[in-house]
C-alpha cells in the first residue's frame, strides 16, 4: 500500500483550433493577414466520414476544438485530465510554399495560443508551432518563448526534408538549448507542396492512406539516428505524435543489424542505435495498434523495453480519439502510471517548468 497520492493524468495531444484563419488578425500585420491562407489539398489523407468526433457540440456550431469551454467541460473535466498539451490544428503549415507567410502564421498562432488559450485554464500547456521551411527563423521563434514555462514543446506537422538532415539542425539546436522536445505530429505530409507519405504511388482509399500516414515516421527515425541528431543534441527528445508505435521493434532491431555491418558510415554514434532511440525517442499512444488480446501489444513493447517511451494522448477532438479510460486496457498498472504521468514529467520537465509534483496529495 503506497502513501503517495494518485498520479496525475497528462494528455499530450489535444487539438485547439481556429474558427477560421481570421482569428489570427490581431497577431498579424494588415499585409500579412491579407495574404494569409492555409493550403487545402491532402484530401487523400482526410477521413471522408469526417475528421472530428460527431458528439463534440460547440455553441453556435463552431468547429470542434475552437471553443475552450467546450473542450474543458467535454474532455478536461470529464476525464479528470490534469495537464492537456495543446497542439494547434494547423496541419498544412509546413506545406505553405511562401516561406515568410508560413513563418508569420507560426508566430501568430503562438501569440494566439498564449493570449487566448493558456490564460483560460491552468491545465493547458502548449507546443510552439514552427514553420520548418525556414529553420533559422524557426529557431528564433522557439527562443522567443523561452520565458513562458507553459510552452513546453516545439511542434511541426511535416518536415521538408528527412528529419535528420543538417538543414533541420538549427531547430534542434534551439530546442536543445531550452531542453525542450521536438514534436512531429502526423498529417502534414500530404498538404500543400509536401511530397506525400509514400514514395511509390499514393493509395486509392482512405483505408490505405490512413495507415500510410505513419510510414514517414519510420524514414525520419532512421535519418535522425544516422545523422547523429541524438548525439549532437542530447538534451532534447523527438516525440512522434499519432504515427502508431507497433513498428518500433522492427526499426530498432533493423537499425542495430545495419550498424553492425555499416558502422563506418555513421562513426559518430556513441552507442547502439536502439539505445539512442530508447533514450531520445518518444511516442504518443494514439493510435495504438491493439490486437484482440491487448496484452500481446504489451509483450511486443516489452521486447524492446519501451515502457518509458510512451506518452498518453487522446487526440481530442478528432474522430480517432482514444478514451483515457479505455485506451490502455490490458496494460499493467505500473506501465499505465508511466505512460499517463511519469514519462511526460521527464520529457517535458514539468516539475522544473511548472513547479508541480507528479502525484496528487495523498488523502490522509
Amino acid at each position: 500500500m503506497t502513501t503517495e497520492g494518485n498520479p496525475l493524468l497528462i494528455d499530450v495531444d489535444v487539438h485547439h483550433q481556429y474558427e477560421s484563419i481570421k482569428d489570427l488578425a490581431p497577431y498579424l500585420s494588415k499585409r500579412e493577414m491579407e495574404r494569409a491562407y492555409l493550403p487545402s489539398g491532402g484530401g487523400r489523407s482526410t477521413n471522408p466520414r469526417g475528421v472530428m468526433r460527431k458528439d463534440v457540440i460547440t455553441p453556435e456550431g463552431k468547429p470542434a476544438g475552437s471553443v475552450p469551454e467546450t473542450m474543458i467541460e467535454g474532455h478536461i473535466d470529464r476525464y479528470g485530465i490534469d495537464l492537456a498539451l495543446l497542439n494547434p490544428g494547423v496541419l498544412s503549415l509546413g506545406g505553405i510554399p511562401f516561406t515568410d507567410l508560413a513563418v508569420s502564421l507560426a508566430r501568430a498562432t503562438n501569440d494566439w495560443t498564449a493570449a487566448e488559450w493558456l490564460p483560460v485554464d491552468d491545465r493547458f500547456i502548449a507546443s510552439i508551432a514552427i514553420a520548418p521551411q525556414d529553420p533559422v527563423a524557426a529557431a528564433a521563434e522557439i527562443r522567443r518563448h523561452a520565458d513562458n514555462p507553459r510552452m513546453v514543446q516545439v511542434g511541426m506537422t511535416s518536415a521538408p526534408v528527412l528529419m535528420g538532415d543538417r538543414f533541420m539542425h538549427p531547430i534542434y539546436e534551439a530546442a536543445n538549448e531550452l531542453k525542450m522536445p521536438i514534436n512531429l505530429h502526423v498529417g502534414g505530409a500530404t498538404k500543400g507542396v509536401n511530397l506525400g507519405d509514400y514514395p511509390v504511388g499514393q493509395g486509392a482509399t482512405f483505408f490505405e492512406t490512413h495507415i500510410g500516414m505513419c510510414i514517414p515516421a519510420i524514414y525520419h527515425v532512421i535519418s535522425l539516428v544516422a545523422e547523429g541528431v541524438f548525439v549532437k543534441f542530447p538534451d532534447t527528445y523527438i516525440v512522434l505524435n499519432e504515427f502508431g508505435l507497433a513498428w518500433l521493434p522492427f526499426v530498432m532491431w533493423r537499425l542495430d543489424m545495419e550498424y553492425r555491418a555499416s558502422r563506418i558510415d555513421v562513426p559518430w554514434l556513441t552507442e547502439m542505435p536502439s539505445e539512442h532511440l530508447r533514450k531520445h525517442l518518444r511516442f504518443s499512444t494514439q493510435p495504438l495498434e491493439t490486437p484482440e488480446d491487448p496484452r500481446k501489444l504489451v509483450t511486443l513493447l516489452e521486447l524492446v523495453e519501451a515502457e518509458e517511451m510512451l506518452l498518453f494522448a487522446s487526440d481530442y477532438p478528432h474522430w480517432d480519439f482514444d478514451s483515457p479510460e479505455l485506451a490502455l486496457k490490458g496494460f499493467p498498472a505500473d506501465w499505465k502510471r508511466k505512460i499517463m504521468c511519469d514519462n511526460a514529467f521527464e520529457v517535458y520537465r514539468l516539475e522544473q517548468r511548472l513547479g508541480i509534483g507528479r502525484r496528487q496529495p495523498a488523502l490522509v
Binding site: 477521413n47 466520414r49 468526433r53 460527431k54 458528439d55 484482440e292 474522430w319 480517432d320 480519439f321 482514444d322 478514451s323 479510460e325 479505455l326 485506451a327
Partner: protein
C-alpha cells in the same frame, strides 16, 4: 433475454421521436439510444463496445455490402449506425458490428409503437 413479465417497460409519447430522429432514455445506470428510421424503430445500448462512445450521436444510413473486387454494392439503407468516434458500423437490427460481429456487439432492446406511445422493453 428476460421473460416479458420480468422486463421493464419504458414508454414515451410517439410524437417525441419522429421519423429521422433519435432519443436517449435512461434505465437505472443504462442509457439506451432509440432511432426512428422512416417508421422503423431500433433501440441499442448507448455505449459503443469499443471505447464506450455515445452511439446516439452516430450517423444512421446504409453501407456497402460484400462485392467483387473494384465494384461497389450499396445496401442495408437505414439499418447501419456508425459510431461517432471510430466509425465502427453496427447493424441496428441485431447489434452486430460489420467487422468481428460477435466481438463487438452492442446490446439491442425490443422497441415498438403501442398506439400513441413508443415502448422499450429492457
Amino acid at each position: 433475454m428476460a421473460r416479458t413479465s420480468e422486463r421493464k417497460r419504458i414508454s414515451f409519447p410517439a410524437a417525441e421521436l419522429p421519423s429521422g430522429g433519435r432519443k436517449v432514455i435512461v434505465s437505472g445506470r443504462r442509457e439506451i439510444a432509440i432511432f426512428n428510421v422512416e417508421g422503423n424503430l431500433y433501440a441499442v445500448k448507448n455505449r459503443c463496445p469499443h471505447q464506450q462512445a455515445p452511439l446516439a450521436a452516430g450517423a444512421v444510413g446504409g453501407t456497402r455490402l460484400a462485392s467483387d473486387v473494384g465494384t461497389y454494392r450499396d445496401g442495408l439503407e437505414g439499418r447501419i449506425l456508425r459510431c461517432p468516434w471510430h466509425s465502427y458500423e453496427f447493424d441496428l437490427d441485431n447489434g452486430r458490428c460489420l467487422v468481428e460481429g460477435e466481438r463487438f456487439r452492442v446490446a439491442t432492446y425490443e422497441v415498438k409503437r403501442e398506439s400513441e406511445e413508443i415502448a422499450v422493453y429492457v
